[in-house]
């Protein structure tokens, strides 16, 4: 037996060696062609992503009006920490982030489980209805929300008519309510978007797991927390990171619904960047310092989320 084996091995070896050589040239060629394919996108990404990023980083050490920029070292970064408007913008953005992202993710998860129920009727109607908001234009829906929540808007008319409020609430001129309106608006717009990810992930969860759980006597709530949530963990991580990045960059809603007001109560970091660049006497250096704050925040928050929810390798 052993002799046979060795013989066979001896016979096999040269052939195998020949094959690998051919394979190797093949792989080498494939690699080259592969590079040819990616090289275009690498160049494009370098020109349109990395180069501006480096330039913006250099710009964050410069200051001055419009085109008259000069290097000021770390002065912009020092200015940042003593700038009440920036701190207001950072606080508002953090509030949106801390309240809206968890709210939306839970809501999306909840809705996706409901809509995944095989016994539910008009399923596709509900799915479309909830997904539809995120194909509408950012500006268009913002403007509509602004009118909904206006003093003479339909929400106020409803509240007064049915006795929930004695007189119309000026949502957009009140620091607290203005924030609430923004949060409601972005939740309305993005919940359906996240829900679609969960729905498609849920389709891949094996039904037999639930069956087994039911046989073991697990109720719906236990099933949700013990099976659904752990199974969707990677998707939850993905959606929470994309939502975090999206919320940190929030601009359209704030500008169109409240324009940052009343009195900086809803101003976002992105809007402050816009103001520094185009509303005030332009200081592109300081504006890019502020935009690098978003970059740093995104990096830190993404790392934390990976650590908390990500699989360890």
């Amino acid at each position: 037996m052993s002799q046979q084996l060795t013989k066979k091995n001896e016979l096999d070896l040269p052939i195998r060696h020949k094959e690998t050589k051919r394979q190797r040239t093949n792989v080498y060629f494939k690699k080259k062609v592969g590079w040819l394919f990616v090289i275009i996108s690498i160049i494009a990404i370098t020109i349109f992503n990395f180069y501006p990023m480096v330039q913006a980083f250099l710009l964050s050490f410069q200051s001055g009006m419009g085109g008259n920029l000069e290097y000021v070292g770390l002065a912009n970064w020092k200015r940042l920490f003593g700038d009440p408007t920036f701190i207001a913008a950072l606080t508002n953005t953090s509030i949106f982030l801390l309240i809206q992202v968890p709210l939306m993710i839970v809501l999306a998860l909840f809705l996706s489980v409901l809509l995944n129920d095989p016994t539910l009727k008009f399923k596709s109607f509900f799915r479309i209805a909830i997904f539809l908001p995120c194909v509408t234009s950012l500006v268009a829906y913002s403007v509509i929300f602004k009118y909904l929540f206006g003093v003479d808007g339909i929400i106020n008319q409803f509240l007064v008519k049915f006795g929930f409020a004695t007189q119309a609430i000026n949502f957009l001129a009140d620091p607290f309510w203005a924030k609430v309106v923004i949060i409601v608006a972005i939740t309305w717009r993005w919940t359906g978007y996240n829900m679609i990810f969960y729905l498609s992930a849920l389709q891949n969860v094996d039904k037999s797991i639930y069956e087994a759980a039911r046989i073991d006597g697990a109720n719906a709530i236990q099933q949700f927390f013990q099976i659904t949530v752990p199974m969707l963990k990677p998707i939850i991580l993905f959606t929470s990171i994309t939502s975090t990045i999206g919320t940190l960059q929030i601009f359209d809603e704030v500008v169109n619904i409240t324009n940052g007001g009343p009195g900086n109560a809803t101003i976002s970091i992105s809007q402050y960047i816009y103001n520094l660049s185009f509303k005030y006497t332009p200081d592109f250096g300081y504006a890019s310092t502020v935009s690098y704050v978003i970059v740093i925040l995104v990096v830190i928050l993404s790392i934390i989320q990976f650590r908390v929810a990500g699989e360890r390798k």
Partner: protein
């Protein structure tokens, strides 16, 4: 290996790009110097906003133009914010490609453009006579002794009042003519009592009211130099804040949060007066059913020494960019908005635009009686008030400081002490505006 290769590629790419960009700068510098020499063009472009007002005025100017060089004028309509963005990005990148020859800039922003991009604008000192224009416009349109802008839209403010509401409350138009803001508030209380209507609208995000108030006293957010914040020790500003709070406390103001609510409030008859710039006239006249029920009186003044019953809100001027075709552009402006009184007659008659060209104010069109305003000669009244507007240097930071003050105003309305509020605002403005 792969990583190394990728890094190398990135590095090479960046170096190549950096080289490219510096090459660009050199070449754009070259083109700039070549534009110093007059290179004639046969087409010039002009950017402006508002089709009913500035664009229409340009169209009229184009029709009236009869200069030496017959150039074609292309008028491009942009939103004001877009113009600011395009100018800022274009001028700061150092390229003049795609820039217009003539551009309309709001007076509040003019100084920041002139100082941020010193060589970008073509001086008009030798082209137009600054004496021909309203005096208060010169400070904002000139920089370091050179006249850069051709003063256009006056922005003269007035108090639009509903005569029928006043009557119900027992007042006549004379009772609100040449009054102080404090007297105005008293009238407002009576009007609310009698009619249930608010006296005016206020937008907590927009301090235009305060801006107009302090200009009645020749004061502004910044000192004469145009850049030092003047908030903590600014008596007029303190008075303006107090007056604003008094209006809130007297409950005579309807709170609005944007332009359409602002226009909606007077079009639907919800407010008895609108203190604002003359450019609101077309919007007021939109409500044709209110014809004959309106009048315009001079702006109330702050109750303090030196304040006058005349102020300004907004207003804009024409600028020529330092690019090929600047001579043609300057010639176009000189022959139209710079020297043609007949053109201004047309503008008043057809558009209702009040310019600041002094020689134009005597024409027939200015004396026309407006039925909507009960036969009042509003154009002639407005241009009379134009002469009394105290000239102030709006400087560089109107909108930056106003954003700070809006927050301060919120604190003040919520009970903070005024002197503290203004001191805080001053400290913040000083830290922010270097």
């Amino acid at each position: 290996m792969k990583k190394l290769f990728l890094m190398l590629l990135l590095l090479v790419g960046m170096v190549a790009l950096a080289a490219c960009s510096s090459g660009d700068e050199a070449s754009s510098g070259g083109s700039e110097s070549s534009s110093e020499g007059s290179k004639s063009v046969d087409k010039i472009t002009a950017w402006a906003w508002d089709p009913a007002f500035n664009i229409a005025a340009l169209e009229k100017a184009k029709e009236a133009y009869s200069g030496d060089s017959k150039v074609e004028v292309e008028i491009i309509e942009n939103a004001q914010d877009d113009i600011i963005q395009k100018l800022n990005t274009g001028l700061s990148s150092g390229t003049t490609k795609g820039m217009p020859n003539i551009v309309l800039i709001e007076d509040y922003r003019a100084q920041s453009f002139l100082q941020a991009y010193p060589d970008a604008f073509h001086p008009l000192t030798d082209v137009i006579k600054s004496d021909d224009f309203a005096e208060y416009k010169i400070a904002t349109t000139s920089y370091e002794g050179e006249q850069y802008g051709l003063p256009f839209d006056s922005g003269v403010a007035g108090l639009y009042v509903r005569t029928d509401y006043l009557e119900e409350a027992g007042y006549t138009v004379e009772d609100v003519t040449n009054i102080t803001w404090d007297e105005y508030i008293e009238v407002g209380k009576k009007v609310k009592e009698a009619t249930g209507k608010n006296m005016l609208t206020l937008d907590p995000n927009d301090l235009a009211q305060v801006r107009m108030m302090i200009q009645t006293n020749g004061s502004w957010y910044v000192e004469e130099d145009g850049s030092t914040p003047n908030l903590a020790n600014n008596e007029a500003l303190a008075k303006g804040f107090e007056t604003y709070k008094k209006m809130m406390d007297a409950d005579i103001a309807k709170i609005v949060s944007d332009w359409s609510q602002f226009v909606g409030a007077f079009n639907s008859g919800d407010v008895a007066s609108v203190p604002t710039g003359n450019w609101i006239t077309p919007s007021v006249k939109q409500a044709t059913d209110q014809s004959g029920k309106w009048a315009v009186v001079p702006m109330p003044r702050l109750d303090m020494e030196g304040a006058v019953n005349a102020s300004n809100l907004g207003g804009s001027s024409w600028y020529v960019l330092n690019v090929d075709g600047k001579e043609e552009a300057a010639d176009f402006l000189l022959n139209t908005f710079g020297s043609n009184p007949d053109l201004y007659q047309t503008l008043v008659k057809d558009i209702g635009a009040i310019g600041t060209f002094s020689a134009a104010a005597e024409g027939d069109a200015f004396a026309v009686e407006d039925e909507f305003f009960g036969g009042q000669q509003i154009i002639s009244d407005f241009s009379q008030w134009t002469d009394e507007i105290p000239g102030v240097n709006y400087g560089l930071h109107t909108y930056a400081i106003e954003d700070i003050l809006v927050t301060g105003m919120q604190d003040y309305l919520n009970g903070a002490e005024l002197s503290k509020v203004l001191e805080n605002s001053q400290a913040q403005a000083e830290a922010q505006l270097k």
